[in-house]
């Protein structure tokens, strides 16, 4: 009975006042404690579609929503709104009301991701902690490998690492502004670029540099999202980073110059080991290195070695890095694998003194 009249008065007020009021409505609904998915929720969703995204379900085909200037204004309203919040839980809920796509199933997925991409880019520039935190939460909810997340990240990387390399410094600071966003960011990036022998599967050097700096400069970055994934399997960048570090000596980026990248990967590798050490105190017993990851890495490594017939220094470096990761992971309790199981998994790798030392170590002690 009430909603139509609310909708009518909002329609009468129009942008931007209506948007602000819908945000208030959303907040009220979220803080009411009730799950925002019931009958009231769909009403709210409709209001959000109409007065935040300006894409009502019954819109006429020629309806275009906000113009560019209004959209800029909208971004400012959203930024201001979240900037004024201190209750992270509440902010996250409101954020989800606005941007959830249920992994891409939402009718407005494309529009939402596009708008969010603009918001996130803007908030990286302004180092907006709350929006970045909410985004990392959104990423976790949507699923790190889901299409909307990949689209979002690609657009951010496009903005910061390709279009305007001069703005890299603002991105560099994000790890301090929002560690959890940085953590999610790295996780997704390692999935986006899988180090295949094609140029597009290698991270842009600028991005690699930023990530190496984050990870090696602050061992806690990789663990920042652990608190949001309690109970479920931990989502961290560590498996992806291990892939990168171990494989990078053997996979040359056909376009970029190798020595500079090699140092960055080495730095990243150190960062991974430090993260595992840090996990010992921050998240004891979190299994950051799943068995499947180890198996995949070993398989990839074996393939790379045999494909290129590489038995030289690069292969030794790759094996040594794997051995180091395994040793530190075992010592810090970050893996389920026992020394024996590791020996089994790593059986067919090229011979290496460090690997032998590590695998033989348990026998002595």
């Amino acid at each position: 009975m009430k909603m139509p009249s609310l909708r009518d008065s909002l329609a009468y007020e129009g942008f931007p006042q209506a948007t602000r009021r819908v945000l208030e409505q959303a907040e009220a609904a979220c803080s009411g404690g009730g799950e925002v998915g019931g009958g009231g929720g769909s009403q709210l969703a409709a209001l959000v579609e109409e007065f935040v995204h300006f894409r009502p379900p019954d819109a006429l085909p020629h309806h275009t929503g906000l113009n560019a200037l209004q959209e800029l204004q909208l971004l400012q309203i959203l930024s201001d709104y979240f900037g004024g919040k201190t209750n992270t839980g509440l902010a996250r809920q409101v954020f989800m009301v606005l941007f959830a796509t249920r992994g891409g199933a939402d009718r407005l997925t494309d529009h939402k991701v596009k708008l969010l991409g603009k918001l996130v880019s803007m908030c990286i520039a302004t180092q907006h902690e709350m929006v970045l935190d909410c985004t990392s939460y959104w990423i976790l909810q949507e699923g790190a490998a889901s299409p909307p997340v990949l689209t979002l990240l690609t657009s951010v990387i496009q903005d910061y690492c390709m279009l305007m390399p001069g703005t890299l410094d603002t991105l560099r600071k994000v790890d301090r502004t929002s560690p959890s966003f940085a953590c999610q960011f790295v996780t997704i990036v390692t999935g986006l670029y899988q180090l295949k022998p094609v140029s597009s599967s290698h991270p842009p050097p600028a991005l690699l540099e930023v990530i190496a700096e984050w990870v090696a400069g602050n061992p806690r970055i990789c663990l920042a999202s652990l608190k949001d994934t309690k109970g479920s399997a931990p989502v961290t960048p560590i498996p992806g980073l291990c892939h990168w570090c171990v494989k990078s000596p053997l996979v040359q980026n056909p376009e970029k110059n190798a020595p500079e990248d090699a140092i960055l990967y080495s730095k990243l590798h150190l960062g991974v080991l430090q993260s595992l050490l840090a996990a010992q105190t921050i998240a004891p017993n979190a299994k950051l290195l799943p068995v499947s990851t180890v198996e995949e890495i070993v398989a990839d490594l074996r393939a790379l070695v045999s494909a290129a017939g590489q038995q030289g220094e690069a292969a030794q470096t790759a094996v040594e890095r794997l051995a180091q990761v395994m040793q530190v992971a075992m010592a810090t309790g970050c893996t389920h694998l026992s020394r024996k199981q590791v020996a089994g998994v790593c059986g067919q790798l090229p011979e290496n003194r460090l690997l032998a030392l590590i695998l033989g170590y348990g026998g002595e002690g």
């Binding site: 080495s266 180091q324 460090l354």
Partner: protein, 712 residues
């Protein structure tokens, strides 16, 4: 087991080598190797130390600090590690900005505070040396005020015990300095410490003793037993001590130069006294919290306090308040006064002028019966400025013993110096007004062994002179002179000179002329050799008020001392010479002395001549050695002539009577003698431009025994 251990040694060594190999090309890889090695061999010190070295080489303070602390908790016995920790704690105590110090300091700062405490406390426990232990504990107490209650009092006790155990000769030693200047202020600043009043007063006593002794340290001369910096006798060191040694405080043995510096000692002592006073329940006036006040302010404050509390000095906290405040002010004033009068006693003060000495002004004393009149009456400079500051009637009565102090031209004491002198006397009196207070004060002095403080004894003598208590002054002076005479002459010249002069002046006043002369001659003997005789115009005699006693402030120079001694001698000699009996020796000595400051004493000379004419003869065989005054020579030449009365003068070095006896067989012997006399006179006239000062000094030195004998 042994093989396994050997294997793991080899393996860890190999891992360290791999890390070192990659360090240059890829420091990240090096660190990765070391992390791996550490998880493999967590008990292997070399691995961790290598990792630490890598961080240190990279200048990474945080990383290095973390590793150093890890090792510190794990391998505390490794010497190389202890050396690193020592470097870190030393850096904290250093002001240096060199990169090493900055790095080690930064490393310490980057540790979490619990680790910082741990490092300081454990290092302190381990340190075998009490001074090092104390330095580390001080760092702990300074940085973590909450540790003061637990460790502060303990540290104070440790320092007290150590000082006692080492039985050091001087309170100015490293333990006392650390105790008084560094530890006690810190401990007292903590509100939570549990210390009894008795303990606090003991601390205050220790502090006062230290500061006073620090301020009044004798200068360290080469070869003296003072606080010498080192026994190094290399020419370079010696030169340094010649240039800098006398003006600067030597550093305290066992401490660095920086630690030996005590800035604004009086202010700091005052601050500490106030802090302790507050804790002991003193009712402290806000104004008295400030050390920077005028002397009269301080004195008024003290007097007010005394007047308020004097009825009930049994209340121990207020009595202690007065006791310590008065003692503080007393020693501060005595110090000020001594700096003005005898700066050379202290190593910290510099002076280019000779020390001063306070003596009785005997010139206007009617010591001998004939009182001279008709002397020019000159306006005397009133030096008693501020005479009436705050003196109530009854005190004015007590001060009746005070005297005027007249200063010679080179004996000027700045007004602050004199004000300090008088305030010191006031404090002294206040401390001796009531028996309980006197007892407390003398107990303090016993603790501090003040009878050995030369400067204080000097002040007490001056005070006794000022108060006209010559009897007491004499006994103290005799005692000091006795204890002085055994010591090395060179070091004591100045002291001997002052004591002899002061004692001479007292004895003179007491009528012991012979002793006064003896002492005056002693003083002359101790006069410093002056390259150029000072200006020979002796200070003019001035007439004093008949009522007030007159004291003189002289500088220890020939120009001031010689006329004074001459005056003593002349006064004594003329009693013998012009008396009823015939005493040619005294008469001769008197005339020699009268040449000094000629013709001011011409009248006396005329009297002497009258006596000779009356006697008809005069024998003085050293006449030609010492009489060069042209007026006198003329007079004697005249006496020989028939017009002059044909006086029988025996003045030649060899007695003319003896010669005449030899020549009795020959005629005209007297003619030869006459000829000798004439020639001697002529020769003598040629000497009349000689320096009288030098001549008199020579006379007093070389003829000392004859003069003394004659005075018997």
């Amino acid at each position: 087991m042994a093989a396994a251990k050997k294997n793991s040694r080899e393996d860890s060594a190999w891992l360290v080598t791999r890390a070192r190999d990659s360090l240059k090309s890829d420091p990240h890889a090096a660190k990765a190797w070391l992390i791996t090695a550490r998880t493999l061999f967590p008990g292997e010190f070399s691995v961790q130390y290598e990792a630490y070295s890598v961080e240190q080489a990279a200048g990474n303070t945080t990383g290095a600090a973390k590793m150093l602390y890890d090792m510190f908790t794990q391998f505390s016995d490794e010497t190389i590690l202890q050396a690193e920790v020592h470097k870190m704690t030393s850096a904290l105590q250093s002001d240096s900005r060199d990169p090493d110090t900055v790095f080690y300091t930064g490393m310490f700062e980057s540790l979490p505070s619990s680790a910082q405490r741990d490092v300081l406390l454990k290092s302190a426990e381990k340190s075998g040396n009490a001074v090092d232990h104390c330095r580390l504990m001080l760092l702990l107490l300074t940085r973590f005020p909450d540790t003061r209650p637990e460790h502060g009092v303990k540290l104070v006790d440790t320092l007290l015990d150590t000082e006692k155990r080492e039985s050091l000769p001087s309170p100015v030693n490293c333990y006392r300095k650390l105790l008084v200047c560094d530890t006690i202020p810190l401990v007292c600043s903590s509100p939570d410490i549990d210390v009894s009043h008795k303990q606090l007063y003991r601390w205050l006593q220790k502090a006062m003793e230290f500061y006073i002794c620090f301020l009044t340290q004798p200068p360290c001369r080469e070869g003296s037993k003072g606080p010498v910096l080192s026994s190094d006798k290399s020419p370079l060191k010696r030169q340094a001590s010649v240039f800098g040694g006398l003006t600067r405080h030597a550093s305290i043995e066992g401490l660095t130069d920086k630690e030996s510096v005590v800035l604004d000692p009086w202010e700091r002592l005052h601050e500490l006294m106030m802090t302790i006073g507050c804790r002991c329940g003193w009712e402290i006036n806000m104004a008295s919290l400030q050390e920077e006040r005028s002397l009269s302010d301080k004195w008024l404050c003290l007097k007010d306090l005394y007047n308020k509390e004097s009825d009930d000095l049994e209340d121990s906290s207020q009595r202690k308040h007065i006791l310590y405040s008065a003692t503080f002010l007393l020693y501060q004033c005595v110090h000020n006064y001594t700096v003005a009068v005898q700066p050379e006693l202290f190593s910290g003060s510099t002076s280019h002028s000779p020390p001063l000495v306070l003596v009785e002004d005997i010139r206007n004393r009617p010591a001998v019966k004939e009182r001279k009149s008709g002397k020019p009456v000159k306006k005397r400079r009133k030096l008693e400025a501020g005479e009436d500051r705050g003196t109530s009637d009854d005190e004015a009565g007590q001060r009746s013993g005070r005297a005027n102090i007249q200063m010679s031209k080179s004996g000027q004491v700045p007004p602050e110096g004199m004000a300090s002198f008088r305030t010191a006397i006031d404090c002294w009196k206040l401390l001796h007004k009531q028996h309980v207070m006197e007892k407390d004060f003398s107990r303090l002095n016993q603790h501090w062994k003040t009878e050995g403080w030369v400067w204080l004894q000097s002040f007490i003598i001056d005070m006794l002179l000022y108060q006209g208590d010559q009897q007491k002054a004499v006994s103290l002076l005799e005692e000091l002179l006795g204890s002085c005479s055994g010591k090395d002459q060179e070091d004591n010249r100045q002291t001997l000179l002052r004591l002899s002069l002061q004692l001479s002046s007292c004895q003179f006043c007491l009528g012991n002329y012979q002793r006064a002369c003896e002492l005056a001659l002693d003083a002359i003997a101790e006069l410093p050799v002056e390259v150029q005789p000072g200006d020979t115009v002796p200070s003019k005699q001035q007439k004093a008020d008949k009522e007030s006693r007159q004291l003189l402030m002289l500088s220890c120079t020939e120009a001031d001392i010689l006329p004074y001694c001459v005056h003593v001698l002349v006064t004594c000699l003329k009693r013998n010479a012009l008396g009823d009996s015939e005493d040619d020796m005294s008469l001769g000595h008197l005339m020699v002395m009268l040449q000094y400051d000629w013709p001011s004493q011409e009248a006396l000379f005329i009297k002497a001549v009258e006596k000779i004419v009356q006697q008809g003869s005069f024998t003085y065989n050293i006449f030609f050695n010492y009489v060069i005054n042209i007026d006198m020579l003329e007079e004697f030449a005249f006496l020989k002539t028939p017009e002059g009365g044909k006086i029988n003068l025996d003045l030649l070095p060899v007695s003319t009577t003896a010669i005449s006896r030899q020549r009795t067989v020959t005629r005209g012997v007297h003619k030869g003698v006459k000829e000798d006399f004439r020639l001697a006179m002529e020769r003598q006239v040629a000497r009349c431009s000689e320096h009288v000062d030098t001549l008199i000094k020579k006379f007093l030195t070389e003829e000392r025994d004859i003069i003394l004998q004659n005075l018997l």
